[in-house]
């Protein structure tokens, strides 16, 4: 069984140059644990295939139960030179919401 990230967290994205970042704010402790486990640079690499061309980092902020995802070479060169309609990648957060996450991870988080 899978659920979508949209059911576990809020997201918002921003830009600096050609780097897009997506803040993921978990609804609670179980959701945070599930996301922390599942949202890895490797999974993001295949999830954003064709969109993100550079390195990917994921940072943890346990005190606010949030993740910071940083995507390099993600905006077609950056706001001033990209051909994207969404020059600053505000909609990247909405793409993130589609990621599928196993519900089993969530139950594990609750038990822990």
């Amino acid at each position: 069984m899978m659920t979508t990230l949209n059911d576990l967290a809020y997201t918002r994205s921003g830009d600096k140059g050609d780097i897009s970042n997506i803040g993921i704010m978990a609804f609670g402790a179980a959701e945070y644990e599930a996301l922390r486990t599942w949202v890895t640079p490797e999974r993001l690499r295949s999830f954003f295939a064709g969109v993100v061309l550079g390195p990917i980092q994921v940072y943890e902020l346990p005190r606010i139960q949030s993740l910071q995802v940083v995507l390099h070479d993600a905006l077609g060169g950056g706001a001033t030179q990209t051909l994207r309609f969404d020059e600053t990648g505000k909609s990247m957060a909405a793409l993130m919401c589609r990621m599928q996450i196993p519900t089993a991870l969530l139950r594990k988080g609750e038990a822990g």
């Binding site: 918002r12 980092q57 940072y59 950056g78 706001a79």
Partner: protein
């Protein structure tokens, strides 16, 4: 315990004016800060100044000060802004003209300069500063040296502290770091210095500055909470009450729209901050991972346990340089066979560009409503959409080539599928690409000048 009360009056050039007026009137603020600058802005302003040496600052500064100065002059609220852009002296003079027109007296305005490095590139190269691109690393500045439009350092709070100590009621900087607009007043009020700094307090100041610096965007603007945000059209901008012990409360005025809760503050802590343990600003490095927060009332969030480390030796510099042109054109395709029509139009345009000999550096076709935002992640629609906008964009070397792309997109409405609708063309735009780099802090002295009436 001493508390400094600061409001955010603007988060970008073109922001709402009414919330700043409301804050000036009812906020009982010590300081009202304004950020007007995005990454591209300094290049645009530099070009404007080249055409007319009396310009180069944010034009909004004049109507903003016309509306705000008569309120703040006399109620003790001092204003700090980076709206001076590439011409702080001219902006300061403009502010004084506004004050004279409003019959204000005894007003002191400070202008901060030193951030403009456009004419100093050669000097840095001679001193052995590589100016390597922070993002791409390997490329040499020499590749773009003859196409540079502007180069500006993100400067910190030194100039603001000097200006406030010198009695300025309005402090106008150029490429002040967004956060310094708020960190500077805190340093002045609490008597902090960089020589004898408590870097955790500076980290706290940078964290709080970051939360409010985009104004309404921490108050339920651009928010995941949008369904629950009351009256965004009456958006209230944020207020930070910063206490001497390095804790703070974020709130907004009663009877304003917008929303402040744990989510709106969390989403802003994460907004464009990248590595949260290493949020580098000219005044210090904030560690956002230590921050704790809680809702302490309606539209009120408290922040504590904020921390930081010593400020970096290097300052970030943003260099803008010309890098070709962008053509953008669109046609609107009606049902039936919308997807097939879009495919056919794309094929026609590609063939036509071949025939007329235009080879763009990059060519993009968006089916707006289908894949313009999701790109390769888009799900193909199960049924043909009611209508599709085919948006065609191309990166080319010259204005002439951009015009040729536009012309070929226009042709598709006469040689392509029936019903292809077209509107007025979009003008080609020149690209100013950005080259972020670093320079040693000690090579960027800032200078403060005062003018008064």
């Amino acid at each position: 315990m001493k508390t400094v009360r600061m409001g955010a009056g603007s988060g970008y050039w073109g922001d709402l004016l009414e919330p700043a007026i409301d804050l000036a009137k009812r906020g009982e603020l010590d300081y009202l800060g304004f950020d007007f600058l995005a990454e591209l802005t300094m290049s645009l302003l530099q070009r404007a100044k080249r055409r007319n040496p009396d310009t180069g600052y944010i034009p909004d500064v004049v109507p903003w000060m016309r509306a705000l100065l008569p309120i703040t002059h006399g109620n003790g609220t001092r204003m700090v802004l980076n709206g001076g852009g590439t011409n702080c002296e001219a902006a300061a003079e403009a502010v004084l003209r506004v004050a004279r027109d409003a019959d204000l007296t005894q007003l002191r305005v400070a202008a901060i300069s030193g951030d403009d490095l456009t004419s100093r590139i050669g000097e840095f190269r001679q001193a052995g500063v590589t100016l390597a691109n922070m993002e791409t690393g390997e490329r040499s500045i020499d590749e773009i040296a003859d196409r540079i439009v502007s180069a500006h350092a993100y400067i910190g709070s030194e100039g603001i502290v000097e200006a406030l100590a010198g009695g300025a009621e309005v402090v106008i900087g150029g490429r002040l770091a967004d956060s310094s607009v708020y960190v500077g007043p805190l340093m002045h009020e609490f008597g902090w210095s960089f020589e004898d700094a408590d870097w955790n307090l500076l980290g706290a100041a940078i964290t709080v500055a970051h939360v409010i610096e985009c104004a309404g965007i921490c108050c339920g603007g651009m928010s995941s909470q949008w369904k629950n945000v009351p009256e965004p059209w009456n958006m209230g901008f944020p207020i930070a009450d910063f206490r001497q012990d390095g804790t703070a409360e974020i709130s907004k005025l009663p009877d304003t729209g917008g929303l402040i809760n744990q989510w709106t503050i969390k989403e802003h802590l994460l907004y464009e901050t990248h590595n949260p343990a290493d949020y580098r600003m000219p005044d210090g490095i904030a560690d956002l991972t230590t921050t704790r927060l809680e809702e302490t009332g309606p539209d009120r969030v408290r922040l504590w346990d904020m921390s930081g480390r010593e400020r970096p030796d290097m300052l970030k510099v943003q260099i803008g340089y010309t890098d070709g042109w962008i053509a953008e054109a669109r046609v609107l395709l009606p049902w039936p066979d919308t997807m097939a029509k879009a495919d056919r139009c794309e094929e026609i345009i590609r063939k036509r560009l071949d025939i007329v000999g235009v080879t763009p550096r990059e060519l993009r076709f968006d089916r707006v409503g289908v894949d313009a935002l999701a790109g390769p992640l888009a799900r193909r629609p199960r049924r043909d959409p009611e209508e599709i906008e085919l948006r065609v964009t191309a990166r080319v070397d010259s204005r002439e080539e951009a015009a040729m792309v536009n012309r070929e997109v226009t042709h598709v409405s006469t040689i392509g599928p029936v019903g292809t609708a077209f509107g007025p063309p979009v003008k080609p735009r020149e690209v100013i690409a950005l080259w972020p780099t670093l320079v040693p802090r000690d090579m960027v002295p800032v200078n403060v000048t005062f003018e008064e009436i």
